[in-house]
């Protein structure tokens, strides 16, 4: 009995090494409307990859998104994302299959889960690549599209030509083992 528990203890401690986190992932959105194309970015993507439990959990504080024009950022926060009420964009889900990671090689991964922004939750599928570097850190890259109307973000007619309905989201992050 005692030996079994020690083994269990050992396993959970090992499982800990299968958990990777980041607080400084890069996330970008690209808006391609007919008259105006612009992007917004943040390097404050927080993320967790638990290979043992197959858990993915990400969030970014939308207040940290910058488009390069201060007034546009304010309008984005105030009129569209309403960050005072809904400060985060979140994704919680799992990988369809957990790839076996060998150092230096990239594996395609597909994640399914719940994406939440502007107070609306939807099931989405995200494609990306996952790889392990020599230091034992994980590198994740990927992207997905967000239709603003799916999340009750209305585009007024006046700016219809300047703000795209479809926002192309990409992200890239380096995850360190959690200790």
């Amino acid at each position: 009995m005692k030996r079994l528990l020690f083994i269990l203890y050992f396993i959970t401690t090992v499982a800990q090494a299968q958990t990777f986190i980041t607080e400084s992932g890069y996330v970008n959105f690209l808006s391609k409307a007919s008259l105006n194309e612009f992007n917004g970015e943040s390097d404050k993507l927080n993320g967790l990859i638990d290979l043992d439990k197959n858990l993915l959990d990400f969030y970014v504080d939308l207040n940290t998104l910058e488009t390069g024009i201060g007034l546009r950022d304010k309008h984005m926060r105030d009129n569209y994302l309403e960050t005072d009420k809904y400060p985060f964009a979140e994704f919680t889900g799992k990988m369809k299959t957990i790839p076996t990671l060998s150092t230096g090689s990239k594996s395609s991964v597909t994640a399914i889960g719940t994406f939440k922004i502007h107070g609306v939750e939807r099931q989405i599928e995200v494609k990306g690549t996952l790889s392990k570097n020599a230091k034992g850190e994980l590198e994740l890259e990927g992207g997905f599209n967000v239709l603003l109307s799916d999340y009750n973000i209305e585009i007024p007619k006046l700016v219809f030509y300047e703000l795209a309905e479809k926002q192309e989201v990409t992200f890239k992050a380096l995850f360190k083992p959690k200790n």
Binding site: K2, L5, F6, L8, Y9, T12, T13, A15, Q16, T19, I21, N28, N39, E41, K44, N46, G47, L48, L55, D57, F58, Y59, D61, N63, T64, E66, G68, I69, G70, L71, R72, K74, H75, R77, D78, N79, T83, D84, P87, F88, E90, T92, E154, P156, L158, V159, E162
Partner: protein, 290 residues
């Protein structure tokens, strides 16, 4: 046996409970933004800051009084007072501006400094800014029998404190104690006051009606003279980078000194139509990373 079992279980506990990340704001003292649509609200300056390296350009007009009716196209025939104003954000907190108003051909230079801003978590319940500057009247006074005023006699100054709060996403309010000083307020100047110093308390209100438009109010009672109070009511519309402001107001004055000393018509009867176009230009925009 029991104790070691407990210890072992405790050791496992953090990992079995550990699931999602805790959501934390990057900046817990996130500022409340867009208390007003623009750095101007009808005629008064607001606490709304400019981003660093951005420029706020405002064209402001006020026309003749409405009481001329359709004959004078509700005052539009009577000639407008027009002010061009350029304000540059030198930092996130400080901006410097120059303006030119056609009434008495006044060139004004002023600065605006934001001491602190209202935060979403309430650690700062309101925004506090100050502004001040001076101007020179450049009208020609050759027609006068007496010598024309010299440069210093043409000067006027103003200073004001702006205290604003967004009470709800729809309602914002600003209190603006202000004063103006004319070194030599001559009757030939287009002002009604004869005093050097004018003290007033400005009230500005915004009531958001739709996502992109608001009802605007302005009330500026003079505190140390018997000049009538300034009253204005208007409609602000936000359209991308522009903010259009249409309003009825009791004074044709557009800069701070003349707002206080310029005199006002009676509310209702001697309203004038006014119109501001505000545009923010951003420079130093980041280059795309593609």
């Amino acid at each position: 046996m029991n104790r070691s079992l407990l210890l072992i279980l405790l050791g496992m506990l953090p990992f079995s409970l550990f699931a999602q990340l805790e959501r934390n704001l990057a900046n817990p003292n996130q500022q409340v933004e867009l208390i007003f649509h623009a750095p101007r609200h009808i005629n008064l300056l607001t606490v709304e800051p400019l981003s660093k390296k951005s420029m706020h350009f405002a064209i402001m007009h006020t026309f003749g009084t409405l009481d001329g009716g359709i004959q004078n196209l509700f005052g539009l025939d009577n000639g407008a007072n027009i002010q061009f104003s350029f304000e540059f954000g030198l930092s996130e907190k400080f901006s410097l501006a120059a303006s030119r108003s056609s009434r008495d051909k006044v060139y004004n230079v002023f600065g605006r400094y934001h001491i602190f801003q209202q935060t979403q978590n309430g650690s700062k319940p309101f925004s506090l800014s100050v502004a001040g500057g001076g101007g020179v009247n450049t009208s020609k006074y050759d027609f006068l029998p007496e010598p024309a005023p010299n440069f210093s006699e043409r000067m006027s100054y103003f200073g004001q404190v702006m205290l604003a709060r967004k009470f709800s996403p729809k309602i914002s309010f600003q209190l603006t104690p202000m004063l103006a000083y004319f070194t030599d307020p001559r009757p030939v100047y287009q002002i009604e006051g004869t005093d050097n110093l004018y003290v007033a308390l400005g009230f500005s209100g915004k009531l958001k009606i739709t996502e992109r438009s608001s009802l605007a109010l302005q009330f500026i009672p003079n505190l140390n003279t018997d000049l009538r109070s300034n009253f204005g009511i208007g409609w602000d519309v936000e359209a991308g980078g522009h903010v259009f402001q249409m309003y009825f107001v009791t004074s044709q004055a557009l800069n701070e000194q003349y707002l206080l000393a310029g005199g006002n018509g009676t509310i209702g009867d001697e309203f004038r139509l006014g119109f501001n176009v505000n545009r923010i230009f951003a420079t130093g925009q980041k280059r795309k990373k593609y």
